[in-house]
Symmetry: C3
């Protein structure tokens, strides 16, 4: 039982423009609160339609923390998605990829159709109503080849995200890709520290030497000034080509966004067409125009995603404990690209392997310091940490929304 009164006090104790009080990064009860207030009510990126090539193909993934949550998904051309368990609750399908024409529970062989309905169950009594048993549906949406799920009965509005993202993403042709690489990192840091780190590039100039060889570091005012004409030129070129960038020509640094997401298409460093060690494509076969820049979109609860002309890289952070987060990053390349011919795993992954490890190290250093008796919330840089300020404000707003709802429900029940 989460003490919501205590969480409310902690939320109210936060100073605007400052990092959160210690408990938000360390306390198991606040962690439980986060799962209910944020993760049970958020949209999650789970993969690409390209990962479900056939009828009956499935992609099963874990949302959030074991032992609390688990979800199996079945996709038939992305039309059917269900969580999968009934009878005594056995896990019907393990996480991973596969193809099935129906779902058979490994425990007692109850069999389900791909729409979730129960096809057969042996030795059940006459009074047993087969129609009362079906796999529980979850909400699923697809946008330009990317797939999102939400576990809430009433998910947050998805329409604006889809409407805005579709024209921004479509030119990137994320439907023409295949999975090429997957790595899992166990990070000893609260999920919010992992996402806070992802929401600022104040640390990039020193922290990410490889990334900033093709990405603008924005480390100094000079960096920003020199970047403006490039960004404006890019925005103009994209507008001429009919590609939405999510950027007003006069505001080159900012992305568009809704309550729980942000998205932006913007240029790389001059002379670079991809985020690689040398700015050149890491894959011989491209799935979109080389001049299309860097499309980055994010979901506040857990994901940072990047599409270039030669690869897609997805970063998903799943909370597993107050001070542990499982980060999975995947890379996708052109569906016809052959490893060893068109690309090598090392060439494809070196930059992101370095960058994600650097971010892991920074998040863990941050967690260790935050754990300290001497931690005091500190002030953010309004310029260098503007996205981060927005991120933490979003978290506090979501927490308040949940607390208000819980209070209203309690009042209604009384």
């Amino acid at each position: 039982m989460i003490d919501l009164k205590r969480v409310r006090q902690l939320v109210e104790a936060r100073l605007p423009g400052y990092s959160l009080p210690q408990e938000f990064y360390t306390d198991p009860e606040v962690f439980e609160f986060d799962l209910e207030a944020i993760h049970a009510r958020s949209w999650f990126f789970v993969g690409l339609e390209a990962e479900l090539p056939f009828p009956g193909s499935y992609l099963a993934t874990t949302i959030g923390v074991l032992p609390s949550w688990w979800i199996a998904m079945i996709a038939e051309n992305c039309e059917r998605f269900t969580t999968a368990r009934r009878h005594r609750g056995a896990q019907i399908c393990d996480t991973g990829y596969g193809r099935k024409s129906r779902l058979v529970c490994p425990y007692h062989q109850w069999t389900y159709r791909l729409d979730g309905s129960l096809q057969g169950a042996g030795r059940m009594q006459e009074s047993f109503d087969r129609r009362s048993i079906h796999l529980l549906p979850i909400h699923v949406e697809a946008v330009a080849g990317t797939i999102y799920v939400c576990l809430a009965e009433e998910p947050p509005p998805f329409g604006e995200f889809k409407e805005k993202l579709e024209p921004m993403m479509a030119p990137g042709r994320l439907t023409d890709v295949k999975l090429a690489h997957e790595t899992t990192l166990v990070e000893r840091a609260n999920w919010k520290l992992v996402m806070e780190n992802a929401n600022e590039c104040y640390h990039c100039a020193v922290g990410h030497a490889s990334l900033t060889s093709s990405a603008y570091p924005f480390a100094t005012r000079r960096d920003i000034d020199s970047w403006r004409p490039i960004a404006n030129e890019f925005a103009g070129r994209m507008a001429a080509a009919g590609v939405a960038t999510g950027q007003a020509p006069g505001e080159p640094l900012d992305a568009i966004g809704g309550e729980w997401w942000r998205a932006h298409r913007f240029p790389l460093k001059q002379g670079c067409v991809s985020l690689t060690m040398d700015g050149k494509p890491s894959v011989g076969k491209l799935f979109s125009e080389p001049e299309i820049g860097w499309f980055r979109w994010s979901l506040n609860s857990h994901a940072y995603l990047h599409a270039l002309c030669d690869y897609v890289v997805t970063f998903s952070a799943m909370p597993t404990a107050a001070q542990e987060t499982i980060v999975t990053w995947k890379m996708y390349v052109h569906k016809d690209a052959q490893e060893g011919v068109d690309y090598t795993d090392e060439g494809l992954t070196t930059l992101w392997a370095k960058t994600n490890q650097e971010d892991k190290d920074l998040s863990e250093i941050n967690q260790r310091g935050v754990n300290g008796k001497g931690y005091r919330p500190g002030p953010y840089s309004q310029e260098a940490e503007s996205m981060l300020i927005r991120y933490v404000d979003w978290y506090c707003a979501e927490a308040r929304k949940y607390l208000d709802l819980a209070a209203a429900n309690k009042a209604a029940a009384a």
Copy 2:
């Protein structure tokens, strides 16, 4: 401090004929409740008298979860059993087997007799009353060569169990055996899921291909129908030989049982005399008649035990956390059987190594599914899961008993 009001609500929320609400399988507080309500008040099978061959022989075992419980036992012809710690509480005897003429605490060398009384303690003050210090006794009972203990001050009645089991077990001659094999499995599942799985064979036909080569799978109505004449013939033959089977001739499928135990002697598949890969004995020396069938007895809290003509196999499940259970299974053979001559470890253990691993896998799949946000208690098969229904009903009844007692004690104190 366990919130008993909350546990009461959870118990009341259970639908008859359905699996338990999620918290019973996942919640640390319910786990603590289980230890107090069930394990602190149950009889435990701990081994065979054959494991205590000499005066001063001992068998020391852990009941329940570390760090909560630990018990050391000393047996002298099964007359003395004690938990072992006083002074500053050091563990006097490690788990395992051995032989001792007295117990010396390894910390400060306080010495105890095998009846638990203090023999010597160095450098204690004049006022120290040696008679006030003794190892705490626990309740111990023996039945036809098998040993049981209970940690409660007032254990549940043991008389009916002993009276009924003794004539059923005696022909099996479990006194003529020795320990031949021991394996420990750490199962990532709540102890009730482990025991629920042990209490139904609905999963056997598919889940235990090896076991069902000599055991009836009871997978279809045809299996059951074809089994009845065999069971009746067996019951008649045993009755003629004066062997109690715990079975009325007209009810071939059911075993006798009391509140916390069940027992049954019944036939194997036709042509089989033991539960082995081929139905033939796995040991050259038998300790009972080959036609004596399969004697199975169980203690609801933790154990499933099987005696055949050539071996005994014991399965004991000790809860160590809400989602972890340590299963120890042991096999015993004729006391004069020699490994390499009369049996091989592989020949003896293959079937149970497979079966216990399969059960571990199924219990863990069940736990993972039950952990899911989408878990809902599901309906049992009245026919295929009848023993399981009884098992879960027993658990709920025991939980209610404890809650009523706690409420009465609280009312009396007020």
Copy 3:
């Protein structure tokens, strides 16, 4: 939130002269209480001045449990010590030794002077007040070459300790040493069991065969009687040499002490000049007179420390969980002693490696027994466990002090 009412009941339940109730050794809530009531308010030994040889040298260590506490220290001739984190809380300095002219945060490169003040922070807004950000100071004291810190805002009085210890320690010349060996042990025991074990030698005669070849075991009354003249002769000799021993000539067994510390200089077994396997020095170069005996001092919360003529050995026990304590022991030798020439690691460490491992084993046996359902607090030996009785009484008194203070604060707030 610690339930202080419950802790108060547990403290009141303790019988004088008996070991503590079970919860004090096993309960996570009592563990949290201990950290606040004891460790957050105690002085800690952290090392020797000899470990900080240069301007900018630092020694960074962890006080207490991760994830709760962490402390980085910077020493410039022991004048500056600070915990190190601000902005978003990253850990500025890892545990260990080193030398720095300023502190640069590895996350966003904020730079601090060695006095803790902020020197630079990039891209911060105009309104940002650099002077408001500085590393938090902690209390630091040095005594005759040894260093102590306290995390409390108002630390317990240090004056008496310094005043008494300085003349006792100074002849030992602990300023002329260097670190020669460091070992970390993870002990599966509550920190109080580790310190209780360190506070009695009732277990030494059997438990520490190596230690007692040069140290008096005090196992029997005869040991004590034979030791008195030696102790009196030593006390007289030291008095003549002007070395304070902390011992009244008529009371050879007892040490002086304050609320949270004890100290004593006393003789070894006849013919021995150091605590080694053969009583001879383990190092060729001595940093004090060979006849100076054994100087032992202790801090109740965590440390037992020994200075001989040839080495210093420090034992520090940091609580990391209710049933886990990290013990670090270090050995120091003359600063000019060369390994391989004046000493070998094996010769230096054998006795303490054995002794500390023996103590670890005993503490863990104690913990396992205390965990048992059958644990009951037992009576101490007034003679053989007198220091231990004082230790446990100190713990209870400190707990009561904290509880009284918390109650007074609560009353004042209401």
